[in-house]
């Protein structure tokens, strides 16, 4: 399972080369803004897809409330930049800290429950946050907030930030899943009782996974909203965020490293193409997900593996 030293070094070098290759258009602006816009979206969706995959695919903790962290970080960014006029990196840090603290606090409640109950509770918490922000005068209630940054980062800068985050996350997942902790996570998903009997501290492992996913999802959320420029309770805490993560992981392949990468590329390209067909986009996205679940329930990445074998 675990790669040998020379193999992992080679993998790392190739990943480094691809990273540098992808960095060139962002730094030099050689590829044009539209390419950078696609790249930005793909990298961020890979990031949140990988995090949902870590939760659901690897650890068996299916959450429907990851939008909580996207909304919290988006609002932290808006409050820090437009209410206090501070630079946006501080907004990122505030969003990250708030999300980590919130995830830690919620973990005491959420880790007592499993499966469907866990999924529904995370969703309810996200909805409650949306309703809370809708009534808070501090964040302009339903009127929403705008994010101000002077000068506003260009798409090239946003692209580089998303690329760094995405590759950082891919590296982190690769290292985590190749380590002892990764084995514990998979053991916990496959048979919690057996894992516990073998010495895996279920609560500690689950808490680590939940908080890690929350932190990284919040960083992606900050970048998403820095690019959008406006946030409303219904856009920050929208279940649509988690639906896109589920779509990406299902299409790509749940519990695989490359699944969310493939899923995110397909999701972004499909949603961009479907923008030309008003009213049809959700129907077609939904139909694509149903077809995948029926005919290829393990995702696109696994088709390739199976064919190769």
């Amino acid at each position: 399972m675990i790669s040998g030293d020379s193999g992992s070094k080679k993998s790392l070098m190739i990943a480094g080369a691809v990273f540098l290759l992808l960095l060139i258009p962002g730094v030099t602006g050689a590829a044009g803004n539209n390419v950078l816009r696609y790249g930005f979206r793909i990298f961020l969706y890979i990031t949140i897809g990988e995090m949902w995959n870590l939760l659901s695919g690897y650890a068996g903790m299916t959450s429907l409330g990851q939008q909580s962290f996207i909304g919290l970080s988006g609002y932290a960014l808006a409050v820090v930049t437009s209410k206090y006029g501070m630079p946006y990196p501080l907004g990122f840090i505030s969003g990250l800290v708030i999300s980590l603290v919130f995830a830690l606090a919620m973990s005491f409640l959420l880790l007592r429950i499993d499966g469907m109950y866990f999924a529904i509770t995370t969703w309810v918490v996200a909805e409650a946050l949306g309703t809370l922000f809708m009534s808070m005068t501090y964040v302009n209630r339903g009127a929403g907030m705008t994010i101000s940054a002077v000068p506003y980062p260009r798409i090239g800068t946003l692209y580089v930030m998303a690329l760094v985050l995405c590759f950082g996350v891919l590296l982190l997942i690769k290292m985590l899943m190749s380590s002892g902790s990764g084995l514990k996570i998979i053991a916990m998903r496959d048979d919690p009782q057996a894992a516990e009997a073998s010495g895996v501290n279920l609560k500690k492992t689950k808490r680590m996974v939940y908080i890690l996913a929350a932190g990284i999802t919040s960083l992606a959320g900050s970048l998403f909203f820095l690019n959008k420029g406006t946030i409303y309770p219904e856009s920050g805490f929208d279940i649509g965020w988690t639906i896109s993560m589920v779509f990406i992981v299902i299409i790509g392949g749940s519990g695989t490293f490359y699944g969310p990468v493939a899923g995110a590329v397909i999701y972004v390209l499909l949603s961009e193409i479907l923008a030309h067909y008003p009213g049809w986009s959700n129907i077609i996205l939904g139909a694509a997900a149903i077809v995948m679940i029926l005919f290829c329930p393990k995702g696109i990445v696994r088709i390739r593996i199976r064919n190769k074998n």
């Binding site: 190739i14 539209n34 816009r37 030309h276 008003p278």
Partner: protein, 424 residues
């Protein structure tokens, strides 16, 4: 596994890379074609406001076929690119970026309620693309950012709304100094919050006694305590703005509690024929804003068509349905866009902005000249009258019963007492 992962990592990344570069070829514009980007809520909760967009775009495209835009004497083709926001603020920002970066639009149209206009205008400002904003109260947009350098808005202010509603309460016998008690119905969404703030201030200034049960989350189904508060305080007027389900739930609870009021003024859910028909008998006698009606004395300086003729054309294509008010603003936005390009010196965005800011034209919804300022936003004030939904041969019809803010608009009916709270 090791070999597999070694092969797959670069393979997947290279695919991403290739796709990105292939897409580079997708963008790139032909400067002989003017592109106008338009984000419309075709589906989702705001679909009622987005109704008629396709028809209006088709009308303008047909007009442009025979009368091409001339920029500095040179004929240009024009393409209007419409994307559906699905009534989602996140999509509004994404699609505006797509219009700017991929479709290379020369102008953006931000239209249909603050939920669409604010995120679209925000992106247009950041990318420095000329933006025509309309059909969103000026206050909501003006409060969303400090400075607007590329966006020009035409609509009414919330002060106008208040004054128009006050005229309607006066018609119902509850004018200033009458000591009337006004019960407010505002959700805590974007519109409700903006209205609530202004109404509280103006109602107090005018000496009305305000019964404010507080803003509620949109989607609330149990309005019993609100209805009981209205009953115990014996209100005379209900004022507010709501989406149809919120109004239906709250109004039903109010009627069940036995509240009887002299007048009901309601924004949003009572503007469109389709929404009002869904309310059924509840809609009888409700008063609301009228920003455009087929009887208005305005014609388009561009196409020459009058409000009446435009409505007739719409009715002919839509089984006799009256043209919705927001669709007239869609027509106005496209008129303004075409007029801007016709008067622009070149397709340079600075020249387009100069042409847009100095527009002084008659449109289907009235005269538009960007000569007023609220905070950092330059805007043109447009028409607002008071209307009442009345039964005519069994059909609900919106009659213009007050034109105090714009006397040039023809009245089409008189105030009729009675509404669902006091009609047994």
């Amino acid at each position: 596994m090791k070999r597999g992962s070694l092969v797959r990592l670069p393979a997947v990344c290279m695919i991403v890379f290739c796709v990105l570069f292939l897409l580079a070829g997708c963008s790139g514009g032909n400067k002989d074609t003017i592109r106008i980007g338009y984000v419309n809520p075709t589906t989702g909760p705001l679909a009622g406001n987005g109704e008629g967009c396709d028809w209006v775009v088709a009308q303008m495209e047909a007009y442009l076929k025979d009368h091409p835009i001339k920029v500095n004497g040179e004929e240009k083709a024009c393409e209007i690119i419409v994307y559906d926001s699905e009534s989602d603020a996140n999509k509004c920002s994404e699609l505006t970026q797509k219009l700017i970066e991929e479709d290379n639009v020369d102008m953006i149209i931000a239209i249909q309620t603050p939920n669409t206009v604010i995120p679209v205008a925000e992106v247009a400002e950041r990318y420095e693309i000329p933006c025509i904003a309309t059909q969103s109260p000026i206050d909501s947009l003006a409060n969303s950012r400090d400075e607007f350098n590329w966006t020009y808005c035409s609509f009414y202010t919330l002060d106008d709304v208040y004054e128009s509603q006050r005229a309607l309460w006066t018609a119902a016998g509850c004018g200033v100094g009458s000591g009337a008690r006004v019960g407010t119905l505002f959700a805590n969404d974007a519109d409700g919050t903006a209205w609530h703030e202004l109404f509280m201030k103006r109602l107090a200034e005018d000496g009305y006694e305000v019964v404010d049960p507080g803003q509620y989350p949109s989607g609330t189904t149990d309005f019993t305590s609100l209805a009981n508060e209205f009953k115990s305080k014996d209100i005379d007027i209900i004022a507010g703005t709501n989406i149809p389900p919120d109004f239906m739930n709250s109004y039903n609870a109010i009627i069940s509690a036995g509240v009887e009021v002299k007048g009901v003024t309601m924004g949003k859910c009572c503007l469109l024929q389709s929404d009002v028909e869904a309310l059924g008998d509840l809609a009888d006698g409700i008063m609301t804003q009228v920003w455009w009606a087929p009887t208005n004395p305005y014609s388009s300086a561009l196409t020459g068509i009058s409000s009446e003729k435009l409505n007739e054309a719409y009715m002919a294509d839509h089984d006799g349905r009256v043209m919705p008010q927001p669709a007239a603003y869609a027509y106005e936005a496209l008129e303004l866009a075409v007029q801007t390009f016709n008067s622009a010196k070149s397709l340079d965005k600075e020249d387009i902005r100069t042409a847009l800011s100095s527009l002084d034209v008659d449109t289907i919804i009235g005269h538009v000249k960007y000569d007023q300022k609220m905070k950092g936003l330059t805007f043109a004030r447009t028409v607002l009258c008071g209307g009442q939904w009345q039964r005519e041969n069994g059909e609900l019809t919106l009659k213009i019963i007050d034109n105090s803010l714009h006397p040039e608009i023809q009245l089409t009916g008189e105030y009729q007492p009675g509404n669902a709270t006091n009609k047994k």
